[in-house]
């Protein structure tokens, strides 16, 4: 064994060298962190920017106001809905613009396609509420058709060859004239928030899906949170430690990783085919999502229960509190912020889940707005899916808008949950 002599200078040099290395390592780590965060924020902004860029145009739309002469020869007092108002309006508008139609009425048909079918319903509704209007000229306001709207939003351009765009040169000319005459007005697209789904983009709204998602989440929260927290409390605080509890724990962890479509299959078999609950309803959707959310809630609750200092538990027990009193008066209140976090995460997850909805029929065209959990309804993510797959171009901007609504829903939900969590938070 050779004796090595380490002088104090050598030691100091080594220390210095080591110190330099340590600082360099720390610097590198900080850099990686900054890079990672920068990258994440960059992608997030890119994604959000792209969605906003695509979707912002869906938040305004164009309406046309046309004076309609309620021709007594064509408007049936007893059955105004039967009147072909669109053609009537188109013919009158053509006449106003001084354009002569051919015998087959092709121009009227072409002009008529620039108005949304809402025009007919609006006119019929006016007559129905006041039949005295027959024979008079009544101004009727209705959205323009999706293609006309796209033209006003400069998404359909004159420069595109006529055979490659959905509007003919003639139609574009009419639209320009109507706009110039002040008949066409741009305004906030309130229909997007007050209507259900529709096959016509200009009439389609997200309200049905928002209400469907809200009802579904209500069912999920009411089932998954009490069940999940209860299960976690029992497993963590009451259940005897043993092989069975270990097995349950492992399986809960596994369940958290099961693909959501499997839960959809389970829901289809269990809730629809066996229990005969109404298909495509928020009830079934909520039940399926509750199954999916349970493992996450249980895991989060258990870990936050574990994080409660044992001294508090001992203090309560030593005061003569029973096990139940200890758990419900001390452990659970202290674990509440963590429980809330778990619940928020799983609810947010459930809100965006699409695959299980596919299997229980919620990804189908449902135009109505549900008023009960047993009624067929859509959901926001399935609406995004449906609209994205729609062939009408005008649905594309609405898809982005629906995504923004979904994100806003999520932000509102999370903000509410964070507010609640703050109120529960207590120091020890």
């Amino acid at each position: 064994m050779t004796e090595t002599r380490v002088t104090s200078e050598m030691r100091a040099a080594r220390l210095r060298a080591g110190l330099k290395r340590r600082y360099a390592r720390e610097g590198r780590f900080r850099l990686y962190g900054l890079l990672a965060i920068g990258l994440a924020v960059g992608f997030l902004l890119l994604l959000l920017g792209r969605i906003i860029e695509q979707g912002h145009t869906a938040f305004y739309t164009h309406s046309v106001t046309v004076p309609v002469y309620m021709d007594p020869a064509r408007v049936d007092r007893a059955y105004p809905q039967g009147t072909n108002f669109e053609l009537l309006v188109a013919e009158q508008q053509l006449a106003r613009m001084g354009i002569a139609d051919d015998a087959a009425g092709t121009k009227a048909t072409a002009l008529r396609s620039l108005f949304s079918s809402e025009l007919k319903f609006a006119a019929a509704a006016r007559i129905q509420s006041n039949p005295e209007l027959i024979g008079q000229t009544v101004p009727i306001t209705a959205p323009v058709s999706d293609d006309a709207d796209l033209y006003f939003k400069h998404e359909i351009s004159r420069d595109t060859p006529a055979d490659q765009r959905r509007l003919s040169d003639e139609q574009i000319g009419w639209l320009d004239r109507m706009k110039a005459s002040g008949q066409v007005k741009a305004h906030f697209n309130s229909g997007l928030f007050t209507k259900g789904d529709s096959t016509e983009p200009e009439l389609a709204g997200v309200l049905g899906a928002v209400v469907g998602s809200a009802l579904m989440l209500l069912v999920t929260a009411l089932i998954a949170i009490p069940l999940g927290v209860g299960a976690a409390l029992y497993l963590e605080e009451f259940a005897p430690r043993g092989r069975i509890t270990d097995l349950i724990e492992v399986n809960i962890n596994n369940l958290a990783a099961v693909p959501s479509i499997i839960y959809g299959l389970l829901g289809l078999a269990l809730f629809i085919n066996w229990m005969h609950l109404p298909r495509a309803s928020p009830l079934v959707g909520g039940l399926v999502l509750a199954l999916m959310a349970l493992p996450t809630i249980i895991i989060a609750t258990r870990s936050s229960l574990k994080a409660v200092p044992p001294s508090i538990r001992e203090a309560a027990l030593a005061m003569g509190a029973s096990k139940t009193q200890t758990v419900f008066q001390h452990t659970l209140p202290l674990a509440m912020p963590g429980v809330m976090t778990g619940a928020i995460i799983s609810m947010a997850h459930a809100l965006g889940e699409t695959a299980p909805l596919l299997l229980i029929g919620m990804v189908s065209f449902i135009p109505g707005i549900p008023s009960a959990i047993g009624e067929p309804s859509g959901a926001l993510p399935s609406l995004v899916y449906i609209w994205e797959n729609a062939s009408e171009r005008a649905f594309h901007e609405r898809t982005a808008a629906a995504i923004l609504v979904l994100l806003a829903f999520m932000i509102v939900m999370n903000a509410a949950a964070i507010f609640l969590r703050r109120r529960f938070e207590r120091r020890w």
């Binding site: 430690r241 001294s311 001992e314 027990l317 005061m319 003569g320 509190a321 029973s322 120091r427």
Partner: protein, 294 residues
């Protein structure tokens, strides 16, 4: 073998002489002297432990401890870390029940009643045997709520005013009233460490227990706070049977009248504090109290 370790209570209060004048070469030279508080009459036996053993799974932490604990007396349990003194303390309010895999054998009687008997509810037992822990552990609630907690869960106060009275009396007895009277509804966790420990003591005495167990109550406190707690312990002795686990020899000498020395899970020696510190019978006790190991 039944050891009657405690002699009849002494009527003599003037017991300072032997401590103030220890003999030449006496172990007391090496340990802090017992103060004026150290002595006093020893009450009738409150708790009788007979052959108490504690197992954590397969490991035996406590071996056949037989000890009598007198009422209206401070009994100190001393010994090096891991010697089983805290384990023994926790058998007396059955806190070991809460540890999975823990088994207690032997017999512990309180006022002649077996506390491990099936008919004894640990919840009621813990209302009779209060406990103070090493680290102050007030609930994250207000000072008032902390003290009111015990009477509340046990249904001891019939009205709000009665509860207010209990809270005030308990805080006064714990010597904390003056300091917190104007902020009863601020959080208990906002107090200093020593105040928190006195709050915890107030919380324990609010249910009028018969026994108070203290597990190193001053080890997380500064000397001034420690002095206050020790003073408090001495006052509480008049009403309660107090058992205190301590690492501080000086503290044992200052506050206790009886001392039991534990080593490696066994009770080595027990007796009057003065005697243990001045004239221990066992070599190991002498080595420990003079700081040769521990």
């Amino acid at each position: 073998m039944k050891l009657n370790l405690f002699r009849a209570p002494e009527s003599d209060h003037g017991h300072k002489a032997p401590l103030d004048a220890p003999g030449e070469g006496s172990p007391a030279m090496a340990v802090p002297k017992a103060s004026h508080r150290g002595g006093g009459p020893v009450g009738p036996t409150k708790i009788e432990a007979r052959d108490v053993s504690v197992f954590y799974g397969a490991k035996q932490a406590l071996h056949e401890v037989t000890l009598d604990i007198p009422d209206k007396t401070v009994t100190a349990l001393i010994g090096p870390s891991g010697c089983g003194k805290s384990t023994f303390l926790r058998t007396m309010n059955r806190m070991n029940d809460t540890i999975p895999g823990c088994k207690v054998t032997g017999r512990i009687e309180m006022d002649g009643e077996d506390i491990n008997d099936r008919s004894v509810d640990p919840v009621l037992l813990r209302a009779r045997v209060g406990m103070v822990f090493q680290k102050p552990n007030p609930f994250p609630k207000t000072i008032y709520e902390n003290v009111a907690y015990g009477p509340r869960i046990h249904g001891l106060a019939a009205s709000k005013s009665e509860l207010d009275g209990v809270v005030e009396a308990s805080l006064k007895r714990a010597g904390l009233w003056e300091e917190v009277a104007d902020r009863l509804h601020s959080p208990g966790t906002g107090l200093s460490g020593g105040q928190q420990q006195r709050l915890v003591i107030a919380r324990a005495i609010a249910v009028e227990p018969e026994v108070i167990l203290m597990d190193e109550p001053c080890s997380a406190l500064d000397p001034i706070a420690t002095a206050k707690i020790e003073e408090l312990i001495d006052e509480l002795r008049e009403r309660y049977c107090i058992v205190i686990v301590t690492h501080s020899m000086a503290q044992a000498a200052r506050v206790s009248q009886r001392t039991a020395f534990f080593h490696l899970g066994r009770l080595v020696e027990t007796g009057d504090t003065e005697e243990i510190f001045t004239n221990p019978r066992e070599r190991r006790t002498l080595d420990y109290i003079t700081g040769r190991f521990g």
